[in-house]
Symmetry: C2
Subunit: 367 residues, 2 copies
């Protein structure tokens, strides 16, 4: 069976790092045990420049038809002035919403070879392996009303609406408990129930879902602000953190930066399993952004993007052995001291984006 | 003239640390150059237990009549089950709203004596001195609708509303620029304009206000998630960070934890100057919470609470020399190696809450 991938490199460093993923896909295709068919398309500022929309309807159709979407990054100062509805980020948000990718898995892992790249003390982050599970299709990202009203007299009013329904909280809670079972069996749910009604409901539904057959998993609740603090103080206390769209955005970025390896961290955004085929819609993207400041300089680290494809192997195609191989190849390249600029210690030699991609291919060959 | 203080110790460690502030107030009164009159009252869970409300109307009247409110902390597991409207936090939120304390100043300072208490590397936080200016009476904390609706079929909907008007963003921006001028002259504004309409308006109004006579101050804009990352990566890049109520809640907690000295950090919540008297309504509180787990054990660090009174001396009473004296006394006590449990290195001797308060009084005597 051929697996269909839609590649959406996007803006900034997106195209450069996608080039490296293509080498990896090519390697697996050449090996012959699996087969991927890829299609390239535009998203974000690149799509806006081409046809005035951050993602076109045609691209959305391809995304819906694909087995997995591999997504680079969107945005940059070039599009700062475009209308809100067609800004680069709108493309990503539409993909998440229309594919119903409600679950965003963001592992924060500290690679042993890179422990010193963190701004945190070695003992605080060495061996860190936590998973932020972020709700991705609800909350303040999509709630209505979302508008700016002109009140007259030079006054405007900006409004966003945070909305969560029981079923949305329930399905992400289930996934949290199920993921925890494959890890250290602990879930920490974060909200601001002391200030937000959606937080009250969040807390209530997570607690109720826990009682529906997940009581073997340890569950704790933490206020999101305290959670941010605890991430900085002692992140190893966590296993799976489940939280809403906006808190997840903030907390996963803080968690990513703890590791000092932002250029290394992949993410997976998953939908519900299809009733008939059991397949999930899915999009894989690096946690980092489009980094317009280094685009085109060959300084970008392609590992987060390549590891995102690794998550696709694991979660979309059940190719666990292949995913493990790829993770191993990445670890081996790092183990040999290969460093892109972002993860190099002062004075250490660096390789380019392409150099890192080639090295990982070579490590695959050597396995 | 006698200065009127309303003391609201609240819950958990609140009463213990307030006891230490009273020693400091007593010291200044005994010295004779200034005179404070204090009144004690209930807030939070303590107020709920006494009369079923997190802050009573009578207490609110006293707060409105006081020159400054000195606030401990509220909340604890004891009140987890009480109705949302009368939960301990509602007392604090009503005080902020009814006193119109729109500006929350949260300094994050790394005390040299404590640089090693941080989970971050010494070079990352040594000498850190940033100020988070958080909007405190708007946003998702107070916007309507804020409710849980029963949709039937076992489904509920939790709703919160983020609302910002031009004037609210303008006045907090002005304060940010004015504060920056007394510091390193740089303001970083944080929002999520790529996802939130209130963020778009926030960005627009901060930019416009900057052009109204504040162009001598350096202004930069950062997305709030990137801001959280940058706080962890290299916090010294910031001077004043201005942000909304919810992002400010998260980011100031992260910033506080960076310093490793959460038990040391004070905050001031200020209103607009009165048209006639020029006086601002004000509330001063430590950044840390009620820490119910250590309440009554004598382990609480009273410094954040005492330093909050120091901010009152400075911002409400213009007693700059006295505020400097108090800061000096705190620094001297720390310089002599006095440590409460939270800031002690492994194996270091510790003093109790009262021991630290007494030591600071002794240092005041010695100045
Ligand atoms: C690009 C932006 C819309 C996006 C978000 O806020 O979700 C990004 O920050 C992320 O975390 O994936
Ligand atoms: C106690 C709570 C309501 C409060 C808030 O969320 O504002 C606290 O976290 C704070 O930061 O002062």
């Amino acid at each position: 069976a051929t697996n269909k991938l839609l590649l959406l490199p996007g803006d900034g460093i997106g195209p450069e790092i996608m080039t490296e993923v293509k080498k990896i896909i090519g390697w697996f295709n050449a090996r012959g045990t699996v087969s991927f068919e890829t299609e390239d398309d535009l998203v974000g500022g690149a799509a806006y420049d081409a046809h005035g929309q951050a993602v076109s309807d045609a691209t959305m159709e391809r995304a819906l038809a694909a087995d997995a979407v591999i997504f680079g990054a969107v945005g940059g100062p070039k599009w700062d002035g475009v209308a809100y509805e067609v800004r680069p980020e709108a493309g990503l948000l539409r993909l998440r919403k229309d594919l119903e990718l409600f679950a965003n898995l963001r592992p924060a892992i500290c690679y042993p070879a890179l422990a010193d790249a963190s701004s945190l003390k070695r003992e605080v982050i060495e061996g860190l392996d936590i998973l932020i599970l972020r709700e991705l299709t609800g909350g303040v990202y999509f709630g209505e009303p979302k508008e700016i009203i002109d009140l007259g007299n030079g006054q405007k009013r900006g409004i966003d609406t945070q909305v969560y329904d029981t079923y949305e909280i329930e399905r992400i809670s289930r996934m949290a408990f199920e993921l925890a079972r494959t890890r250290s069996n602990k879930v920490t749910s974060m909200e601001k129930r002391n200030v937000m009604k959606s937080g009250v409901l969040w807390n209530e539904v997570v607690t109720a879902t826990h009682k529906q057959g997940y009581e073997d998993v340890q569950l704790e609740h933490m206020l999101a602000d305290a959670g941010g603090m605890q991430l900085v103080r002692w992140p190893k206390q966590f296993d799976v953190i489940v939280t809403d769209n906006l808190f997840g955005d903030m907390l996963s970025d803080v968690a990513a930066m703890l590791t000092g390896s932002l250029g290394m961290l992949p993410s997976a955004s998953l939908g519900a399993p299809d009733g008939k085929t059991g397949k999930r819609k899915a999009l894989y993207e690096p946690v980092h952004g489009s980094a317009p400041d280094i685009a085109g300089t060959g300084a970008a680290n392609p590992i987060a993007m390549i590891a995102s494809f690794g998550m696709a192997l694991r979660y979309s195609f059940g190719l666990v052995a292949e995913a493990d191989m790829l993770d191993k190849a990445i670890a081996n390249a790092l183990g040999k001291g290969l460093r892109t600029r972002d993860i190099a210690a002062k004075g250490e030699a660096t390789v380019s984006t392409a150099g890192m991609g080639d090295a990982i291919v070579a490590e695959l060959d050597a396995l």
